[in-house]
Each structure stands twice: as structure tokens, then as C-alpha cells.
């Protein structure tokens, strides 16, 4: 019973628009990730759901309650903050018990609930320590434990992994995914890291400048970016984008010609992913001097400078070429995406 509904939610500070016309239905038990560059309004959206920020316009529905005017404590949500927000004067055990205490859960249930949560986040050994005596990853798990202890209807997590080092981030990410699939609690997760978004999400909401750019499963977002922003934000490397014109099914840009496209004539931006294209001996759609060869470990990346655009193609890890050497790449129409240069919107394929 924990559907979350945002109906045309707006947030403004004076003239500054932080979130614009945010309209979204989040299903029960869904893991939804808000993804976007820093400053695009992700945290603001989440804080409005939590009740820490007033909604300027629009409505937020939690189940069948309109929660706009409810205090955070009355919304039955829990939140993990980027800097964890642990109570420094309390032990791990007391930190996790805090929500039960202030919500007047009967005392005799506390120990069982707290211990269940502590076991889920694997902190048994540390439960009598204070936050100052814990590592970053352990603090992060305390925050998680505190969020799950009272079984809220919605979890909110604001960049919970961003203070951890790369290795710990991977394992904690898996732990979060595991916890959520066990608890089946509707979750909204904020991140600027597309890998986190791709690995965790049932659905991703890509945001930019306060506006939703695209909503979809990780695969949809990756395979069918709705506009040039999403195309250039998702994937590593991001999609190659080359400006040019389309005449009679033939796209022409600086140093590239692709035939066999089906779209009306006009100014277009052509996009394709580095891993979809291939290096070829002859007859390639790109033929230009190599700008750089980068070794990625599992592959090599060849890049060209076409006009202002830097274009990359992934190839076998033992491929070698000199900078400045002529190299060709095949970019068949089948792997290409077309975007209207004016609006940035993807054209139907």
C-alpha cells in the first residue's frame, strides 16, 4: 500500500526554479532512482517527498493520503542522508533504536526490532560503539539500519554511497539492493552516478535543470535515450554525438557519412555508442587520423576529432594504432540514433 504519486510538483526559491512540473507515479515495492548531474534538483525533489522542503505547487500523494501539509514525522517514511546524520552521542544500538523511542513503539518490542535491523546491516560486533569510532562504511550501515528498523512505507536515500571509497561502494550497493528485495519497501534513491542508477533501479528518472528528461528501465534509457542530454549522460563513454545534416536518408557531418537512414531532411545530430561501432580496414563511414588510443584493460578505445566532436569506438584490447594514423570505423545505420538538432529530441527509428 505504498504507492507514491507526484502530481506536477514544482519548487521555486524566488525566481529560481529548482524543480519544474515533476509528474511521476511510483509503484508499490518499486526501486526508483533519480539520476542527474549535481544541482539538477534531485535532492530537492526527495526532500519534498520527505517533508523537509515545502512544495511550491503541485501535490504529493503517499498511498491515498495527500501529504503536502504533513510534518516529516507523520509521513511514515525514512531517509538515509548523504552525511548519514547519526546521533554522535548515542551508540550504534541507541542510534537505531531512536526512531522507535520517539515514535512510542512499546518498549518490550524494541530489542527484537533493533537486533533484527542490526543483523540485517551486519553490525553486531559494533553495536556498543559510538559513530566516531566507526569507519565510513559502518556509519553508512548504521544509517541504513536506522532507516529499516521501523518498517516505513517508503525509503528515501540521498546519495548514500558518495562518501565511501570505490571498493566499499560496490559491496554496499549490492547490500542495498539485497535489503530492498528482501524488505520490498518502495524506495526512492538519488544519485549522480549512472552506474549506481543502472545497477540498482527498477526504473530510472533522468533529470536535468529541474526537469524530468526521461523515465524508463535502465535498458530503455540506455538503448533509447529520449534526447541528446540523456544520450550524453548515460553510458561510459557517453554516446558519440555528431552534428550534421540529413538529405534523402544520408547523414553528412564533419568526417562522417552514413547512408540508409529513414528520417525527414533537416539539421540532425547523429548518435552511436562506442561499443556498437567497429574498426574496419576499408569502406568505413568514418575515415580520419586517430586522435588518441586509450587502453581500458578489457578493451581499447580509439578516438577521432570530427569537427568539434570527439568520437570514440571500442575495439579489441590488443588493437594498436599510432596517433595521426588513418583509421576507419564502420558505423552502419542500424546502430545510429538521430536527434533533432533544434530540440535535442530523439527521432523515432
Amino acid at each position: 500500500m505504498a504507492r507514491l504519486n507526484l502530481k506536477n510538483v514544482n519548487k521555486r526559491w524566488g525566481n529560481y526554479v529548482a524543480v519544474k512540473d515533476f509528474d511521476l507515479d511510483i509503484a508499490d515495492q518499486e526501486f526508483l532512482v533519480l539520476l542527474g548531474p549535481s544541482g539538477c534538483g534531485k535532492s530537492t525533489t526527495m526532500r519534498m517527498i520527505a517533508g523537509l522542503e515545502d512544495v511550491t505547487e503541485g501535490e504529493i500523494w503517499l498511498g491515498d493520503r495527500m501529504v503536502n501539509d504533513l510534518e516529516p514525522k507523520d509521513r511514515d517514511i525514512s531517509m538515509v542522508f548523504q552525511s548519514y546524520g547519526l546521533y554522535p552521542n548515542l551508540t550504534v544500538y541507541e542510534n537505531i533504536r531512536f526512531p522507535l523511542r520517539v515514535r512510542k513503539v512499546p518498549k518490550d518490542k524494541h530489542d527484537e526490532m533493533v537486533m533484527t535491523a542490526i543483523r540485517m546491516v551486519e553490525l553486531e560486533q559494533f553495536m556498543h560503539r559510538r559513530p566516531a569510532e566507526l569507519s565510513g562504511g559502518q556509519r553508512q550501515r548504521v544509517a541504513l539500519g536506522r532507516a529499516i528498523v521501523r518498517k516505513p512505507t517508503v525509503f528515501l536515500m540521498d546519495e548514500p554511497l558518495s562518501n565511501l571509497d570505490a571498493k566499499l561502494r560496490v559491496s554496499t550497493r549490492a547490500q542495498i539492493k539485497n535489503l530492498q528485495s528482501k524488505l520490498k519497501t518502495t524506495t526512492v534513491y538519488v544519485t549522480h552516478d549512472q552506474i549506481e542508477a543502472m545497477t540498482l533501479a527498477d526504473r530510472v528518472v533522468v533529470m536535468n535543470k529541474g526537469e524530468i528528461q526521461q523515465v524508463g528501465t535502465p535498458t530503455q534509457i540506455y538503448d533509447h535515450p529520449a534526447n541528446t542530454f540523456v544520450a550524453s549522460f548515460i553510458g561510459s563513454p557517453a554516446m558519440n554525438l555528431i552534428p550534421g545534416t540529413l538529405r534523402g536518408g544520408t547523414f553528412t557531418g564533419d568526417g562522417i557519412t552514413v547512408t540508409g537512414l529513414t528520417a525527414p531532411d533537416g539539421d540532425m545530430t547523429l548518435g552511436f555508442r562506442a561499443e556498437d561501432a567497429e574498426i574496419t580496414e576499408s569502406g568505413g563511414q568514418i575515415a580520419a587520423p586517430v586522435y588518441a588510443v586509450e587502453l581500458l584493460g578489457e578493451a581499447s578505445m580509439i578516438s577521432w576529432r570530427l569537427g568539434d566532436a570527439l568520437v570514440s569506438v571500442k575495439t579489441a584490447k590488443d588493437y594498436r594504432a599510432e596517433t595521426g594514423q588513418m583509421v576507419e570505423a564502420s558505423v552502419p545505420a542500424a546502430i545510429c540514433h538521430l536527434f533533432d538538432t533544434q530540440t535535442g529530441k530523439a527521432l523515432p527509428r
Binding site: 520527505a50 517533508g51 523537509l52 510534518e71 516529516p72 514525522k73 517514511i77 525514512s78 531517509m79 542522508f81 548523504q82 552525511s83 548519514y84 546524520g85 547519526l86 546521533y87 554522535p88 552521542n89 531512536f98 526512531p99 520517539v102 515514535r103 559510538r130 559513530p131 566516531a132 565510513g136 556509519r139 553508512q140 536506522r146 562518501n163 565511501l164
Partner: protein, 293 residues
């Protein structure tokens, strides 16, 4: 070369130890001298013939038969009723500290957490009030207080001292609160607290050292004040500091000045106890590394 690498070179160590010794002497000497001399008679402590009399107590032995005398204390506390001033000081400092801290914590928290621009101007106004010499405020108060018939009473003085002290407590606590991440109170609110509960249960426990430190400064301001208490209190409502000043002002009778010396020592002693008692709270590292990763 078995010297640990972090040891200071010898000359530097001698220099820094010398400085500390010098500072200790400069700071502690007046107090020790006064405390010692307070048990002597006036012709010794203010000896015209030989300053060592103040140490040996030649005149004291001649007058009382012993090298130490409690005459100064007896005269000040009983004859001159210094104990009344002690009680007055206790009332004034306690009230000023409690009231300033109450408003300071609530106001400082509100200002630190409010996103509005006007908080800046409130704080600037507070700073200006703080910067003014106290006497400018007091002279303005005198006439209205006479007219209203509230001049000379302790509560009036308490209110004025709070008014003078409040900007400082507000500033100090405001910056303490700013150093506590907003995440802490927001966590508490999401966890089920009202704004006030979050303040009480999550923020205040972390703030404790800040509150103690600010409270100590408020205490000292009220305790040491001369300008306000000397101008706004009647003879019988006087606190310690103006009382001591009045002893010093009446040196015609021999021995009176020793009352002042004894009273000064009586007034200083509690401060030592206070600072020693609270130093641990002041330095307590409750917040260290607790909230950030």
C-alpha cells in the same frame, strides 16, 4: 642519534618553557600576592618602609601577635555585610546566565536553521549593540528607570545585563549551531521528532560543550560587571564588584582598604573553582568526527 625525530631542538624547548614560566608568573603573581597579603594588616600590605613587610608581616605580628590575621575578612564579611553582596551577585549572575542561555540557544538555533536573509541583519544589529560601550546604554536607562520607580532593584539590573549580554550569546551559539550539520536535526525529524524534539533530543546533546562555554562567558560578564551594577543598584542591593569599589573609595579610616583586599580574594576564589570544574566539558570532544564520514 637515538633522538626521536619529533623532539624539538633544545633552544626552542628552553625558549617555550621560559615563555610559559614568564606567563605563569605574570598571570598568577598578582593573585598570589593579594591572597597572601589579605591576611596581613594595612601597614604591612601597603608598607611605606619596606616591601618585604608584606611577606613577613612585621606589623601584623606587632598588632595581632600572629603573622596572619583574618581581620580583613571579618570586617568585610560581617561588619560591612559583604555577604549580602555575595548573595546579590549570586542572584544576578545565575539569572543573567540562565535567561541569556535560554534565549541564546533558542534564538541561535532558529537563526542558524532559518534560510531567510533577515537573519544576517539581525546578527549584524546584535553585533553593533555588543560593540557599544555599556555606559552609553546605562546612561540612557537612568532617567526612565527613575521615572518608573524601578531603579535600584536587582531584576532591573538583570534585565539590563541580559540585554547587554544577549547579542554575544546569540552570536556564539549561532556559530556553534552552524557547525552542527542540518542532517542531524533533519534525520531526527524524519525519525519521528517534532522540530522542538529534534532540537532537544538530537541537537542539544551535541551542543552541550557550546552551551557550557557560552554560559561560562555569560556568567563572567554578569559576575565582573561594574558599569551597570554600580549605576543601577542602591547601596543595599549592591553586588560584589561595586561593593569592593566602595571599600576602596573610603580609605579615610585605616583598615578599610584591607576589607577591599579581603573582599577581592573572596570574589576571585569561586572563579577558579568554576573554571576548573567546567574545563572538561569545555574541551570535551563529543562532536569530533561524528557526523561527517
Amino acid at each position: 642519534m637515538a633522538r626521536p625525530t619529533n623532539a624539538q631542538p633544545l633552544p626552542l624547548m628552553v625558549l617555550s618553557l621560559g615563555f610559559i614560566a614568564l606567563w605563569l608568573i605574570a598571570a598568577a603573581f598578582p593573585f598570589v600576592w593579594t591572597a597572601w597579603g589579605s591576611f596581613k594588616v594595612e601597614p604591612d600590605f601597603f608598607s611605606r618602609s619596606d616591601w618585604t613587610n608584606a611577606i613577613t608581616g612585621v606589623q601584623t605580628i606587632r598588632q595581632t601577635g600572629s603573622a596572619f590575621t583574618g581581620a580583613g575578612y571579618e570586617g568585610a564579611w560581617l561588619e560591612q555585610e559583604f555577604w549580602k553582596s555575595v548573595i546579590n551577585t549570586a542572584i544576578v549572575t545565575l539569572c543573567v546566565t540562565v535567561i541569556s542561555l535560554t534565549f541564546g540557544t533558542l534564538g541561535g538555533y532558529a537563526l542558524a536553521r532559518s534560510g531567510y536573509r533577515y537573519t544576517f541583519w539581525i546578527l549584524i544589529a546584535a553585533l553593533i549593540f555588543r560593540a557599544m560601550p555599556h555606559v552609553t546604554l546605562v546612561s540612557g536607562y537612568l532617567l526612565p528607570f527613575f521615572e518608573l520607580g524601578i531603579w535600584g532593584y536587582l531584576p532591573t539590573t538583570i534585565i539590563v545585563l541580559v540585554a547587554i549580554n544577549q547579542p554575544f550569546t546569540l552570536w556564539m551559539l549561532h556559530s556553534f549551531f552552524l557547525s552542527i550539520p542540518k542532517d542531524l536535526d533533519e534525520s531526527a525529524m524524519v525519525d519521528g521528532c517534532t522540530r522542538f524534539q529534534a532540537f532537544r533530543l538530537a541537537v542539544i546533546p551535541v551542543m552541550w560543550p557550546g552551551v557550557v562555554t557560552t554560559g561560562l562567558f555569560s556568567f563572567l560578564l554578569a559576575y565582573n560587571d561594574f558599569t551597570v551594577t554600580s549605576m543601577l543598584l542602591t547601596q543595599e542591593n549592591q553586588t560584589m564588584v561595586p561593593k569592593i569599589a566602595s571599600f576602596l573609595g573610603s580609605t579615610q579610616a585605616e583598615g578599610k582598604v584591607m576589607y577591599a583586599v579581603a573582599a577581592v580574594v573572596s570574589a576571585i576564589a569561586p572563579l577558579f573553582v568554576l573554571v576548573l570544574f567546567f574545563q572538561r566539558q569545555i574541551v570535551s570532544g563529543l562532536t569530533a568526527g561524528a557526523v561527517k564520514g
